[in-house]
């Protein structure tokens, strides 16, 4: 008998009188001591199906079908009984360790709550159990850190604390919903190791939700592929990977593998530097409780972007990558050194906002990370794309519709999208609009700040190909900022590695990745 199974589970969301079904009859099962991965793009229904089983969805969700834990039916179970199942039998690990932990309570309190809400236990014994759990998940010196709030821990540590809460009652099943997506690559591996160890030691069954097949392929025994609320394919991992039955599965697999970088033809890249940072330092001052705290984010940075090249900028979150992009675009002023674009100084120490001439502004354009936030929700696409042209008076009003159509063509979106609003586009489509907007002014340098992090694997691939084409067809340089080493390896000619505000390595991509001086 499986530890956990779903049978013909349907989930819908009610708005007013209509119910929109988003999960259409999903069936899956996981056995004791095994790991089932549920993969699919965002919107495929993978998280919703599992949250529905434990009734963790909002009021307006309508669940039908069957969800069973150890043979016991969960759908329709009275709330009081279900509450004891959550935590005691099923543990949950969520994606964002930042938001799934209470910011004001200490970690000792939170992990302790996971235990004390299910059993009566004396404070001494509770404290010992909490320390034991935290040490098991790899938080060192746990006993002396019990009273610290989550903010004092790194992202990876916070996720470990979340896992500690989830396994506190030694549940038979752990449901992990994208637990490593928000973490850096190096930390991901350690979290997966932890989960594996816990499974081995306690025989816990794990259901692991992810949109990233690469992460899953190391870790899972069985796989369920979902799309649009349906199960497309399922089976043992090795079988699904070697012999996918459904074209969509094959597509996901293809998108997940990273290809070798194709060097650009001769003449595309010229040695003349387009943009340079020399000795750049950037400090942020925050006023905390009346006192100013200065944080130096960039120390003595020297970077050169050649004309026509795609330069990768990698590093962990907090290493200063986005800040470099913003000094290049003039969004923030530097405290030391200088930034030059096409030979002219565009950013140097001084007071007030960085003032750029229109010509300088036009040379450097940025594509932002968040496709959902970087487009004004209340303006149609045509207006959003026409805005740069209007601000810089590049076209007469009469020529604008044609210019907008050209931009949409350049990013391979249908011309009919001009009349739509951002909410009517998917994440990948919005990101293309953002790219089109950045291209409108014919910039020389495109700063792409994590442009694909928020997108699904298949969409990522399309955007990466688009950027490669644009570099060849327009000869623009791209500064590609990312924490995803796989994509950087494929797309970039050279790579600069940043750590804690300093350049620790730079050179041709192949060299840097083959012989890393630092990790």
């Amino acid at each position: 008998m499986s530890v956990f199974e779903l049978e013909e589970l349907r989930v819908g969301f009610a708005t007013g009188r209509d119910v929109t079904e988003v999960v259409h009859g999903v069936s899956l099962a996981v056995d004791k001591g095994r790991t089932l991965a549920v993969v699919g793009e965002s919107g495929s229904g993978k998280s919703v199906s599992l949250l529905a089983a434990a009734r963790l969805l909002p009021e307006r969700a309508r669940v039908s079908g069957s969800a069973r834990y150890a043979g016991r039916e969960l759908v329709g179970l009275p709330e009081a009984r279900l509450r004891s199942v959550r935590g005691r039998d099923i543990g949950f690990v969520f994606q964002e360790p930042l938001t799934s932990l209470h910011p004001l309570k200490s970690i000792g309190q939170q992990v302790g709550e996971a235990i004390s809400s299910h059993e009566r236990i004396g404070s001494r014994a509770l404290r010992d159990r909490v320390v034991e759990l935290l040490e098991e998940v790899g938080i060192r010196e746990a006993s002396s850190r019990l009273h610290e709030p989550p903010a004092r821990f790194s992202g990876g540590q916070r996720q470990r604390i979340g896992i500690a809460s989830a396994i506190a009652m030694r549940p038979g099943l752990l449901i992990a919903d994208e637990p490593t997506t928000a973490l850096d690559v190096t930390v991901q591996a350690s979290i997966l190791d932890l989960l594996r160890t816990l499974q081995r030691e306690h025989g816990t069954a794990i259901v692991f939700v992810s949109h990233d097949l690469a992460v899953v392929s190391d870790f899972a025994d069985d796989v369920v592929v979902m799309r649009g609320g349906h199960v497309i394919e399922q089976g043992p991992l090795t079988r699904v990977v070697d012999d996918p039955q459904h074209p969509y599965t094959a597509e996901l697999l293809a998108a997940a593998e990273h290809r070798l970088p194709v060097p650009p033809p001769d003449g595309v890249i010229s040695e003349t530097p387009l943009a340079e940072l020399r000795g750049v330092r950037k400090t942020f001052t925050a006023r905390v409780r009346g006192r100013s705290r200065a944080r130096t984010v960039l120390h003595d940075i020297d970077i050169r972007v050649r004309t026509g090249e795609i330069l990768g900028l990698v590093g962990e979150s907090g290493s200063g990558k986005s800040t470099i992009g913003r000094t290049l675009s003039g969004a923030i002023r530097i405290e030391a050194g200088e930034v030059r674009v096409s030979g002219a100084v565009v950013n140097a120490p001084g007071r007030g906002r960085v003032r750029l001439t229109p010509e300088q502004r036009v040379r450097v354009q940025t594509i932002f990370q968040d496709p959902f936030g970087s487009l004004n929700p209340r303006r149609p696409i045509a207006d959003i794309l026409a805005e740069p042209l209007r601000v810089h008076r590049r076209r007469s009003e009469r020529d604008i519709p044609a210019a907008v159509a050209d931009l949409l063509d350049a990013v391979r979106l249908p011309r009919s999208f001009a009349g739509r609003y951002p909410a009517q586009l998917s994440g990948g489509q919005r990101q293309r609009v953002a790219i089109a907007r950045a291209l409108a002014l014919d910039p020389a340098l495109l700063i792409a700040d994590e442009p694909v992090s928020a997108l699904d694997v298949t969409t990522q691939r399309q955007i990466v190909e688009l950027l490669q084409d644009l570099r060849l067809s327009r000869g623009i340089s791209i500064l590609f900022i990312s924490h995803d080493l796989g994509i950087v390896a494929e797309l970039c000619d050279r790579v600069v590695v940043l750590s804690e505000g300093r350049v620790v390595e730079s050179g041709p991509t192949a060299d840097v990745f083959r012989n890393p001086a630092a990790e």
């Binding site: 007013g16 929109t20 094959a250 036009v362 970087s374 601000v391 739509r420 609003y421 586009l425």
Partner: protein
Amino acid sequence: MSLRISVDPAHVAESTTASSVEGPWRGFLRALARERLVIAGGAIVALVVLLALLAPVFAAITGHGPTAQFRDEAVDGFGVPVGPSASFWFGADGSGRDVFIRAVTGAQVSLAVGVPATTLALIVGTTLGLIAGFFGGRTDAVISLIVDITLSFPFLVTALCLVILNRGENGQPIVPPVAVVVVVIALFSWTFFARIVRGQVIELRRRPFIEAAESIGASRSRIIFREIIPNILPIAIVYWGVQLPLNIVGEATLSFLGVGVVAPTPSWGNMIADAQASALFQSQPWMLLGPGLFLVVTVLGFNLLSSGLQNALDPARSR
């Protein structure tokens, strides 16, 4: 083995998301039309507005103007006015005036004071809130201080003072009293708009699309008008609908106390005051019920409408 898929996944995703989501304005109107509170409130408001507009028509039908007195007809020997009849639909008041005609004329007054006052408050409040939220720093501190100071003034006492100040040499008002009432009410309601808008603008300011507009080189005024205002307009409009009934009651209160619309112009407030002062409502209850009912129903209608507007604006309920 590589399989080429003929359907571009982007388009597939498009078909599942595109048709189910509309543009923001269309979506808002659609949500409005479906909201029962909007329909109910809207119907009541429409009725009141209609009656207000038809006031002169009613006056023509009955032959009674709002300030015309018909003592012989309507008031008996003891000074007690008649109740509802064929010619006086709500009866008469102590001076022999037609209560119904006065009540519907009062509707005109309430709307003529409430709507401009709320609109003035919206314009002033939104502008100041926008400036405070967008520029931050000292500008924000100054404007927030002004908001706090305004809020610390007591409504009635201040209104009274302003009305008294509005007395010229010979006892005649310098500025038309209605204008004073409008300004007073606007003065006490602009702060709500300022607070709401300021909060919204502060949140919007941080959003990536504002930074994107800056990186394109858009000037600050362009950003304010083309990026920020379209986003705060819906909230401002909804709060207009929330504030209006409050301002109608505010006007009625001022008139009740004698510092708003003064006799002989009818206002629900001063009609209620009349009824209460003369105690004639004990014999002729419609002297009180007439304006009272109108006031209650009107405010109820606007409240339902604005609740419905707020629901429609709430993304958790709309689709």
